[in-house]
């Protein structure tokens, strides 16, 4: 097991370095002269040269990268060009918002897809339609679902607030009310894909011998489904959570923009809009590193469960 973890680390860590370097070189090369951007269009060439020298923008990219990583590891991600705030202070409050949104969506999606597709009466009643519903959930763009939900529940029925975000500290009820529509929007894709994965697995587990034994010894349909099929059919769903993380990030970016939620996704989109390169760089790297580390954890968890993978 230790060997497996070390082997994975030996692959993932260099990847993180290479990818973040490519991102750094790409973004800083594209910006060209950050000094000119910071000082505005009517800055004198001398002032630009002076600033370039002071911040080391003239150094080779690799030197700048090492300096940036050094700062990042100490929690210094530079200052935003547009707000002059330290980038770390902008990301700090945004990250928990996105994580909360993502966590609710995934938890509900796992529970709903596994639960609904294990209940035997539900399988009988809506089984045929489930695949269709799942496909619609997978393909509907977040912005379309979000806009429709806002129109129906906020504009038309007036039950829920249209957009915005209220932190826990200002009232749990208000917080949850603002959370419902964005969570449903993000939930849809996961519900759809988990349902597809789980149903396929359910069908193959259903045919196995131990399930027939369980049914033959007189267990009720529900008990067979929940106690015997569910535990073995649910594993691929858990694997899939790790695999589809990239999709989740994209979904969060769009959903936060639709609902004006002050998370990391909206921060990223507004940074893209204002060419705020320290923020683009920092968020890009956090997402990259986060996705790769969580995938690594998922790999390790799977290897712990299933020894075959360790080879």
């Amino acid at each position: 097991m230790t060997g497996f973890v070390l082997r994975r680390l030996a692959w993932v860590l260099p990847n993180i370095v290479v990818l973040t370097f490519l991102l750094f070189a790409g973004v800083s090369g594209w910006v060209g002269s950050p000094a000119a951007m910071m000082l505005g269009t009517d800055a004198s060439p001398e002032a630009i040269a002076e600033l370039n020298r002071r911040f080391g923008f003239n150094d080779p990219v690799i030197v700048q990268y090492v300096r940036w990583v050094g700062g990042a590891l100490r929690g210094d991600l530079g200052r935003s060009f547009s707000t002059q705030q330290p980038v770390a202070d902008m990301i700090g409050p945004a990250l928990p918002v996105t994580l909360e949104l993502a966590l609710w969506s995934i938890i509900f999606a796992v529970l709903a897809s596994i639960g609904l597709n294990s209940l035997t009466w539900a399988r009988r009643a809506i089984g045929a339609a489930t695949t269709g519903v799942a496909i619609v959930c997978i393909t509907i763009p977040n912005f379309m679902l979000g806009a429709s939900l806002i129109y129906i529940f906020a504009v038309w029925l007036g039950w829920l607030p249209t957009t915005g975000w209220v932190p826990w500290s200002e009232g749990a009820l208000l917080h949850l009310k603002h959370l419902i529509l964005p969570v449903v929007t993000l939930f849809a894709f996961y519900f759809g894909s988990f349902t597809m994965v789980y149903r396929a697995e359910y069908r193959s587990v259903e045919r196995q011998l131990f399930v027939r034994v369980a049914a033959a010894k007189g267990l009720s349909e529900g008990a067979v489904s929940f106690r015997h099929i569910l535990p073995s059919a649910a594993l691929p769903v858990v694997t899939y959570v790790g695999l589809s993380l990239g999709q989740l990030v994209g979904g969060a970016v769009v959903t936060e923009t639709v609902f004006s939620i002050p998370g990391i996704g909206r921060l990223f989109v507004s940074a893209i809009g204002s060419y705020d390169y320290p923020v683009i760089l920092a968020v890009g790297c956090i997402v990259l590193v986060g996705v790769m580390l969580i995938n690594l954890l998922a790999d390790i968890a799977l290897a712990a469960i299933n020894p075959q993978i360790r080879l």
Partner: protein, 260 residues
């Protein structure tokens, strides 16, 4: 009719409708999609089926013309992705030993990357033109092709006819082209349809986030975004183009999933 056939026919119907809308847009559209007028933000009416937007342009005409953009961007981007991904997948599937392990891990790294975020960063760097959009989407989507093709090649590789071809001295290139490729073509074709749907999905998301084709092109994602502030006045400004995206994506996805 099986569920699969049923889904396939729905998929083909949707794709056919969108294709017709795009091809016939110049004749079907009652107005010039870019002609602004004094009649701004009017609701749905006999004259303007989906109403008019904030510049007084006819939304129905713009939605029809938006189909053209999606029908160009989607298939070409999918093609670009296949042109990168299929050779990589063939190589990764057919190679053995160290090269195989390396290719697999490279594909895995790229698959895990968040496509939309990558597309956002690259698009803002290179600028949102039709050509760039196609290349960026192709670049973001190639790993899916590579993974799929690799898996298929791995299973075909072990079959007897491949072994026989190798035994009579066929070179790897010939084995791949004449013996492996015909067996995986169908899967690649199915993936092509799915890639079209995800390209249209991602292109519309980019448009919604403000990185679509620059105005005045009728870009569905951009239309959803600009209509967003007027949801309470005329929801169709957003929901009509948004619905068009959803139906197009659904159509191509159904075709891909049912052929597979």
């Amino acid at each position: 009719m099986t569920a699969r056939r049923f889904r396939l026919s729905i998929g083909f119907t949707l794709v056919g409708m969108i294709a017709l809308a795009g091809l016939l847009a110049p004749w079907l559209a009652p107005f010039d999609p870019n002609a602004s007028g004094w009649n701004v933000l009017s609701g749905a009416s006999e004259r303007h089926w989906f109403g008019t937007d904030d510049l007084g342009r006819d939304v129905y005409s713009r939605v029809l013309h938006g189909a053209q953009v999606s029908l160009v961007v989607g298939p070409t981007a999918a093609l670009v992705a296949a042109l990168i991904g299929v050779p990589v997948g063939l190589l990764a599937g057919y190679a053995r030993g160290r090269l195989n392990t390396f290719m697999v891990q490279v594909i895995d790294v790229f698959i895990a990357l968040p496509g939309l975020v990558l597309a956002l960063i690259i698009t803002v760097m290179v600028g949102a033109t039709m050509r760039n959009l196609v290349l960026v989407l192709g670049f973001v989507m190639w790993p899916e092709f590579a993974r799929l093709v690799r898996g298929q090649v791995m299973s075909v590789r072990e079959s007897l006819f491949v072994e026989a071809a190798r035994a009579i001295g066929c070179r790897p290139a010939r084995v791949l082209a004449r013996h492996v490729w015909p067996n995986i073509m169908r899967t690649v074709a199915a993936q092509l349809a799915i890639a079209v749907s995800s390209a249209i999905f991602t292109a519309a998301s980019l448009g919604f986030l403000g990185l679509g084709l620059p105005p005045p092109v009728a870009d569905w994602g951009g239309m959803v975004q600009s209509g967003f502030d007027y949801l309470s006045i005329n929801p169709l400004l957003s929901l009509a183009p948004g619905g068009a995206v959803a139906l197009t994506v659904l159509g191509f996805y159904l075709v891909g999933r049912s052929v597979e």
